[in-house]
Symmetry: C2
Subunit: 745 residues, 2 copies
């Protein structure tokens, strides 16, 4: 804390002295690299690559089919090529020279019909990009079975140039492994965003349907560029207003904007909508009047939005109403909606994030499995149960959720968090590709080795077709969309892994860096390294060794001392999760404890349950161990815990110093933003380290490992420190009383 506050306070003086001289250097141009164009910047190519690319992209042959989607694809290609090649590329009705680019579908473009493009196995969303000789010319064909396939192919082709890959010969064929690739917006109708750290909602409900901001189109382009094809417009803590006629008109207007980009719109609705909106006396899923109300409402929605995607539901969770209110199961609740949607091929994404905040419940992380596992096979075909990556709640690290692999007769989808609710929120640099990769590659052993989470959700493990993946969006009204430049990489990697869950987080990071900043190797290499290590850094300085939920109530900064109280149920406290006491630390989830480990397949359960085989980075998730327990490294748990905190801070320091050495590669605006945020993150990491060490030391009473300095402030000071206003602080109230303490040491 000390450094954090000191640094903040010192700035009053420091800035007073220096800023007068340096400020005008911050050029005030309106349209500098402010991050708006994300990874679709299409900056000029120079040198040999320019020459090669111009030869391979000499003219466009977009065919005559003019659907909105094909228009969007053609415009994107024109925009990208003219930006990168420094001149417009002419469009021709037919191939006239080498380097022509033909785009379209076999259905709409006669020329393509006659070619053997290998599209048959690529489904409705796949595409091919192939170098061919046609009528004596060297030509690139970008083709899909549908218009949106062509659009995806165009973005893929542009990426080839953006990342300095050859344009010929190309023989690319790609299809998404997951069918529904969805962004969940936790956006409220009043414009605020739950767990949003990038300004307000991008949906301007007040202006809709009259005004359609061009920003919606740029959003859609960004999504299409990584294959995202669904958007849940509103918060899972839902307002019933969303399905009233007043709002459906707005929803329809948005759906119309997004449709050409292959994006379907979904909504979340409170389970109690038949009561609040329909004025019925019940929302019981078995009540025929309730069933009729949903049928009528769904019909009304499809009249407004003919390709409406369906509902995402948060029920019986954190105060939201649900089927439990009527003694019905989650399956009965989900099927109620599924049956109303089925005639229109709509789906229900039913969240498995259900738990009761019951002081007597033994282990919160058990609950979702205990509730849903027995319902396997009870859900209608068009229900997909949406399961968070881990059994708790988007922590820096959790083991994979035990439901994955455990419900062979149910469609399961994966819910990831793209917004960094628990990982530093707006300002920290954390690339989530490695977190996503970790869970996707986790082996459930449900059908023996190789039963990865990826294979559960891509349907290959159990032969399912209605597959889906969702990410809680980190997008807001901030000019740079995501609150920081590097936060954009998480939107990007989510989309790319949703398309192909077997892709490499490192490769994707490198491509994102090239597209977003520069292809210069001297920049790409260190920045990718920094990104690849960034998630482990935040684990190290906040929740190492399998700890979880050690943060303050704001989900920002440390709060390991937070204990249950009359106002705080145990599983919303921090001590509940650390279980730190005089003897040791960690949550015993083996047979001697909550036995949550038994929810995993036997092979996995045995590994997790074994002190010896349990991965060290999940140790305290599954085991309560003495402070002096020795890890494989030879360190005691206590020493190791402390050293992880120290290591996390050191990692952030390295990140900052890496970044500072790269100024010559980046425009000043994006450089300074990132640089300032890394400084904030360094303060944050130090605060985490110092507060955590102070707290756990007060429990373990063990000496610090050699060379580790004691926290500069007292535990009491860390406990008292509070950031009064963070995004999401409700109303105009501060989270804590004002603190006028003199500057600490």
């Amino acid at each position: 804390m000390s450094q954090f506050i000191q640094a903040a306070r010192r700035c009053a003086t420091v800035l007073g002295a220096t800023a007068l001289l340096t400020l005008p250097a911050l050029s005030a141009t309106a349209h500098a690299n402010d991050g708006y164009r994300i990874w679709l910047r299409y900056v000029s190519v120079h040198g040999a690559w320019l020459h090669r690319y111009r030869r391979s992209a000499s003219e466009l042959v977009p065919g005559r089919a003019r659907s909105p989607t094909l228009s969007a694809a053609t415009e994107e290609l024109e925009r990208g090529l003219s930006g990168m090649l420094g001149r417009p590329v002419p469009s021709e009705p037919a191939i006239t020279r080498n380097g022509a680019i033909v785009l379209g579908t076999p259905h709409g473009t006669p020329l393509l019909r006659s070619l053997h493009l290998g599209l048959r196995t690529l489904g409705k969303q796949g595409y091919v990009i192939r170098t061919l000789q046609i009528h004596g010319h060297r030509v690139t064909v970008i083709a899909g079975n549908t218009d949106v396939g062509v659009l995806y192919g165009v973005f893929r082709f542009l990426r080839q140039m953006q990342t300095r890959q050859p344009l010929e010969p190309l023989a690319i064929a790609s299809r998404p492994k997951i069918r529904h690739r969805v962004l969940d917006f936790w956006d409220n109708l009043n414009g605020s965003v739950e767990r949003g750290y990038a300004g307000d909602s991008i949906w301007k409900w007040r202006e809709l349907p009259e005004y359609l901001s061009p920003r919606y189109i740029d959003f859609a382009r960004a999504c299409a560029s990584v294959g995202i094809n669904g958007v849940v417009l509103n918060n899972v803590n839902a307002s019933p207003w969303i399905v009233t006629p007043l709002y459906l008109a707005k929803v329809a207007a948005l759906a119309n904007v997004l449709r050409p980009y292959g994006i379907r719109v979904y909504l979340t609705v409170p389970f109690s909508a038949p009561i609040t909106v329909g004025k019925l006396s019940s929302a019981d899923p078995l009540d025929p009047a309730v069933q009729a109300w949903w049928r009528t409402k769904v019909a009304e929605i499809y009249r407004a939005v003919p390709d409406f995607g369906g509902f995402l539901m948060k029920a019986d969770s954190e105060g939201e109403p649900g089927p439990e209110n009527y003694g019905r199961t989650q399956a009965q609740g989900a099927n109620l909606l599924a049956r109303a949607l089925a005639p229109y091929h709509g789906i229900v994404m039913w969240r498995a994030f259900v738990y009761s905040t019951n002081p007597h419940s033994e282990d919160r992380v058990r609950q979702s499995y205990d509730i849903f596992k027995p319902l396997d096979g009870k859900f209608d075909r068009n229900v997909i149960v949406q399961v968070k990556n881990g059994p708790l709640d988007f922590q820096p690290r959790e083991p994979f959720h035990p439901l994955f692999g455990a419900m062979p007769h149910t469609h399961l989808m994966l819910e990831l968090e793209i917004t960094k609710e628990y990982l530093g929120q707006q300002t920290s640099l954390v690339y989530l590709g490695t977190l996503y990769e970790e869970v996707l590659r986790a082996d459930t052993w449900a059908r023996g080795p190789g039963s990865t989470v990826a294979r559960v959700i891509d349907g290959s493990l159990y032969g399912q077709h209605d597959t889906a993946i969702a990410g809680v969006a980190n997008i807001g009204s901030d000019r740079n969309w995501c609150g920081s430049i590097f936060n954009q990489s998480n939107w990007y990697v989510f989309g790319r892994l949703a398309w192909n869950p077997d892709a490499s987080a490192r490769t994707i990071a490198a491509q994102w860096v090239r597209m977003t900043f520069t292809n210069a190797a001297g920049f790409v290499r260190p920045v990718v390294r920094m990104m690849m290590g960034s998630r482990e850094a935040v684990v190290d300085y906040s929740d190492p060794l399998g700890l979880a939920s050690q943060m303050a109530g704001t989900h920002y900064g440390p709060g390991p001392w937070i204990a249950p109280s009359k106002h705080l149920p145990p599983d919303w406290s921090d001590t509940y999760y650390s279980r730190a006491n005089a003897e040791g630390i960690g949550f015993d989830r083996t047979a001697s404890g909550s036995d949550a480990v038994a929810q995993y397949a036997p092979h996995v359960a045995a590994e997790f349950a074994s002190l010896k085989h349990c991965p060290e980075n999940l140790l305290l998730w599954f085991h309560h161990v003495p402070w002096t327990y020795r890890l494989a490294s030879g360190h005691t748990v206590w020493d190791s815990l402390v050293l992880h905190y120290v290591r996390g801070v050191a990692a952030v320091k390295r990140m900052r110093s890496t970044w500072r050495g790269l100024s010559r590669y980046v425009d000043p605006r994006r450089f300074q933003l990132t640089s300032a945020f890394l400084t904030i993150q360094l303060h944050e990491a130090q605060w985490w380290r110092d507060a955590s060490i102070a707290y756990f030391h007060s429990i373990s009473h063990l000496p610090l490992p050699p060379g580790v300095a004691p926290p500069p402030d007292s535990l009491k000071a860390y406990e008292a420190f509070c950031i009064p206003y963070l995004e999401g602080t409700p109303g105009n109230g501060a989270a804590c009383p004002p603190d006028d303490a003199p500057v600490p040491r």
Copy 2:
């Protein structure tokens, strides 16, 4: 209402059918004319003007003095000239040719010292722009006594070009008539903005002091371009955190960014800060410990911000603490702070917006005068009492506040609202220049005829020097700053009238149009006409004939039926103000009523009190008249009321049709935004008209004037209609339960 809802609901269908075809036309370019550059666009000049301007602006001679302010001035000139002239203008150490532009102060630039520029009477903020022959060259000199004067002169010179005025010969001399020209930000530290309709706060407290957004500089440029020289950073409903060390570091960082542009920073603090921040037991202004606390705190602030401007205080008002809590007067409260600030030449702006929400109080609009008038002469020299333009609260029309002219021994400043809290908020097109002009030109008769409000606040009436004017800002994080393009004109005109309260709202409107859009006469003329009539339109469709406060609790849309209740004090209701009953309508403020009219100087009081001489547009503010009372027009009050509503709607229709005819002059993006907003405003005006007529008809029971159609819905329907989410709807809750009613007729 009917049309409003119908239109909204119909769009679901209409857009479904047509948007597929038209959407790609909304080009998705990132940096189109999105309004960010406001009136400082500096677009290329063409034709004869280009030739002339190039000749008159051939080189810059900025002198050697390199203060941050002079650097900003030089950069602005370079930016403006290169933009408008299509090529960079070289900077030279000395004059080398005709058309040179010399800028600086006599103090800093030896060349200027020898010239007789007439700067002596222009004070610290004035400037001259003069065409001179120097060393045989035709030269333009832009000079001030201080650097900031030069900066103001540069903006003035650029405006000359932006509005296509000749550059020579020039003999411009200008100085501000009011010393402190301040924007009040009602911005909360959590990023929300009270009565803000343009996104969140532009102050990114979370990122400060580490990150200084370039947007702060663009904000400062805009302010300096119209002479605004003070900014109150935070909401008058203040958080005590603002004066803690954590936040003072952030404030200092902002002050450093704004300083080069001549802008001083002010803060608002709760009067109870000695208790909440200082942990004292009292905030009594006569308590020596309280006085000492403020002295210490002010010293701390000045260490962080050496040119800190002072405090703006809202005390004893709408729940805010104040001196009344200790039985002290407003003067004692204000002087407490003034004495702490005096050693640093800081000022206190003490709001006169004080009233008790007391069900027994006879007339809310009397209170401010009754409280403050007796205190004339009791305030310290560095207190300025801040008085709203009217005695109620920023209504579409009010008479001027009776305190103006009534406190000869007190510094009085004028508080205007730039944000359109009561005038349609984000979407309506209302140019406030005419409202500001109306109050500035209002004659208080305090020292006989010509004792205008302008002369009270510019100090000329009573020979005062510490003069000030404030506007409640309409600026937020929206890309276009103000929520709409036309809202920018209100920021602009506020600054211009603050510099010169005798300037013409029409001239300023025309200049704004030219700078913001185009100089084409075919555009300027109709748009200025539209702007000049726009405020009267909103008066007509919402509060005609001197009515006030007839809006819903959200301050958006009609609510004339809102009556006092257990939860709503009388003076927060609407019926309290209309006083409509079977006999008639209007608030009797003559001697037979509340006698508020007696607060004005006798000449004015007599005019207002006379049914015959009272201006018709204030009739119902001062008089309760029978429905059948005949106005000068020959219409009864009832007929006239109805016809005003009808006229207001017709005016908005005309505005929309004017705008639609101008598409060839405006880029598509700004055109479509404005066009969509005018459609929203038309719905809003119709809703106001229909609901108001339905309500007052239920009281008067009189037939509608010939040719006026009855409201399409029942009064009950209008009363039930509610917009669930408007900017400022607290939390995630809706303002009203969901309404699933079928589409009305």
